[in-house]
Amino acid sequence: MLELKKVCKTFNPGTADRKKALDNVDLSVSDGDFITIIGSNGAGKSTLFNAISGGFFPDSGRIILDGEDITYTPDFKRARVIGRLFQDPKTGTAPSMTVEENLTLAAGGGRWLSVCGRRERENLRGRVASLGLGLEDRMNTPVGLLSGGQRQALTLLMATVNPPKLLLLDEHTAALDPSAAEKILAVTERTVKEQRLTCLMVTHNMSQALALGNRTVMMNDGRIILDAKGEEREGLTVDGLLRRFREVSGEELDNDRILLS
């Protein structure tokens, strides 16, 4: 459903700071895949997500989603079919607007000059209640007053209120405290399962990378160096993963936040 064909991106071309962030990346994602992505600092994980969601246009290569070439589609148009969550819970919400107003915008639909009606409000409230965080009683609270976990849960709901074709999770629990991170992860898994979403998730937690989803992709230096699925993946351990990284890249996995537990 998502095809990346020889996608290349170099930042600061022609300067001393030039960095090949994506180097001939080929990736083929099937319907219903849940892929976890790991890699060193600066391996190109977030850059890969930016390329997919339209944060920049690649220097060369093609990006095809559900048969449609979206390589040069503006980011806000892609957002209709691609949901994205960031590490910083502040990224995806408007702080001075209420929970309901944020959701109304994300839900879209209706005419520009239409007002969110009672039935739609009830519907949104129901969706918020299904998060199980008690946020449904705070529909008129400005989002800026919510905790990071609540805000990230809301962002997840906003990204999936209209089921997207593709959900990109960029270390979306990394900035939260452990108990909030656990809750958000549980809600994420449930949402992905219920809506049968195709999902890519960057994580720095190695055991999580192996426990979640059905595929694990490892990146280094702008390239995909390992793509484990099926039986190959089932046999993998964290140690095995690190060994594979050393074999393929010739260096130690270097990520200052990596969790080996």
Partner: protein, 310 residues
């Protein structure tokens, strides 16, 4: 100062406060909601006055209002086009448009820097004729201004609840979030600035017809005066619903005019108005920053004393 003098002062304060509050409401939309400080406000205010005056002079008092607002929309479009499509910094875009409008405004007034409307039929004279003989006859100016203000407040209250209105508010709050909601922030910025500038031009148009004079310099400093009014009205209740905040912006404009009138009565020369508004804006905007910094400053002073440096 007799009672009738006081009534006259109160009347003119209300008139001028209401008319200039339309510009305050414009900034409420562009500055408070869209988070763009639109520095083309001065020129756009005069543009509204000039276009309104020319159309009224040609014998179309009602059309003059629409023409002025349409001119404001055009001006707002140019400003937003520069900042959203041409990569011009938003402050600079306003300054550029403001400068260009000076020539445009003189051209609109047929090469003159002053247009006299002493005998012209305007919305004010129309209202005066309409109310002639009724008990409201003395209040026609306030009524015209109040109707315009009420209409703009009603529009803003309804508009900012719609999806487009929410998207405009979100653009000022977190532009990325707007993009993730599949809305083009270029579109919301353009709509917001066009609407805001329509109100600014309406404000200028009404002031010119009120004082029966359109003058190339009448918009000068309007953006600061309006910001001062907005901040006076906004410091009270920041988190209240939009209609309340819009009404407070109008109250701010009237309070500003009242303070100004009192100062004039205390022999402050009229030319001090702009300095006073500049000081109010500077103080109101820097206050929250200073409040945050104050504890640090006190700590440094204390530490300095302890070290014997003081």
């Amino acid at each position: 100062m007799g009672i009738s003098d006081i009534i006259n002062v109160v009347r003119s304060v209300t008139d001028l406060g209401l008319i200039s509050s339309l510009t305050v409401l414009a900034l409420f939309l562009s500055y408070s909601m869209l988070n763009v400080c639109d520095l083309s406000t001065d020129g756009c205010f005069t543009l509204g006055a000039a276009v309104g005056a020319v159309v009224a002079l040609s014998g179309h008092p009602y059309l003059s209002i629409l023409a002025a607002m349409a001119a404001g929309v055009a001006s707002g479009f140019v400003t937003s086009f520069l900042q959203t499509r041409m990569g011009v910094n938003s402050l600079l875009a306003g300054i550029i448009v403001n400068t260009g409008l000076y020539s445009v405004n003189i051209a609109v007034m047929g090469g003159a820097s002053l247009l006299n409307m002493n005998k012209t039929v305007t919305v004010f004279t129309k209202m005066k004729d309409l109310l002639d003989g009724t008990f409201l006859s003395g209040w026609y100016k306030v009524i015209v201004a109040a109707v315009a203000v009420a209409a703009v407040i009603a529009f803003l209250s309804l508009f900012l609840k719609t999806r487009l209105g929410l998207a405009i508010r979100a653009t000022g709050d977190n532009t990325d979030m707007v993009r993730y909601s599949s809305i083009d922030p270029v579109f919301t910025t353009t709509v917001g600035l066009c609407a805001a500038n329509a109100f600014t031009a309406l404000s200028g148009c009404l002031l010119a017809q009120y004082q029966k004079l359109s003058d190339i310099n009448m918009g000068q400093g309007m953006v600061t005066v309006a910001l001062a009014s907005l901040l006076i009205g906004g410091t009270v209740l920041r988190k209240s619903p939009i209609p309340v905040r819009a009404v407070l912006a109008v109250v701010g404009a009237i309070v500003f005019r009242a303070v100004y009138a009192i100062a004039l009565n205390l022999q402050m020369p009229a030319y001090m108005l702009k300095l006073v508004s500049a000081i109010i804006v500077a103080a109101a905007i820097s206050a929250p920053y200073l409040k945050k910094k104050a504890p640090e400053l006190f700590k440094r002073i204390k530490a300095g004393r302890a070290n014997g440096n003081a």
